[in-house]
């Protein structure tokens, strides 16, 4: 079975600073996909960034980037120039080619003005 672990239940960052959220996963698959989702108080789960396991290049979406270490099964999210609107629960997720999603336990991010 696949498991996804987020070891930081809560994190905080000063506005305009950089923060990194950690995620590790366990799998015996060689082909899979990784995602970070954001869930603000409005409850909507919003896709932040995605990474294909077969790609060595780390994904980047504007202020969001990942550090994907396949051998270490690590997939961290870096948020640069943090904004107040970045405050939310962040979930790391793993998707198999067979279409099943597994979510990590979540990290609650607070942005301090």
């Amino acid at each position: 079975a696949q498991t996804v672990t987020q070891s930081q239940p809560e994190m905080s960052v000063q506005e305009a600073e950089t923060v990194t959220l950690s995620c590790t996963y366990d799998t015996s698959e060689s082909d899979y996909y990784l995602f970070w989702y954001k869930q603000p108080p409005s409850r909507q789960m919003i896709l932040v960034i995605r990474q294909e396991a077969y790609k060595q290049q780390n994904a980047t979406e504007n202020r969001f980037s990942v550090n994907f270490q396949k051998a270490a099964k690590s997939f961290s999210l870096k948020i640069s120039d943090s904004q107040l609107g970045d405050a939310a629960m962040y979930f790391c997720a793993y998707r198999t080619p067979g279409n099943q999603f597994y979510f990590g336990t979540g990290t609650s991010l607070t942005v301090i003005p």
């Binding site: 409850r43 909507q44 896709l47 995605r50 979930f91 279409n99 336990t105």
Partner: protein, 114 residues
Amino acid sequence: DTEVTQTPKHLVMGMTNKKSLKCEQHMGHRAMYWYKQKAKKPPELMFVYSYEKLSINESVPSRFSPECPNSSLLNLHLHALQPEDSALYLCASGPTSLANYGYTFGSGTRLTVV
């Protein structure tokens, strides 16, 4: 249309009531999902529909009954629920063929069982 719409947004029901949650998408996605989410916890998969057929049931109690009448609609029928079933119920959809495509989630139905 790039949205998943869930209704109602809030629902309060008694333990003897029968109610339904509705989810609709018009993105042409052929996989649809029901998730249950408790406060401060990750979403837990309940059901997966692929091409309108139930493909995964994560051992969900029979008081939850899913239905997929067509490729755009997904319902969750509720009957004889317990207070511990109070949670946020999220619907999601996605294409079946693109595994690098994340789900699109609805904003959920906040269910309270009294």
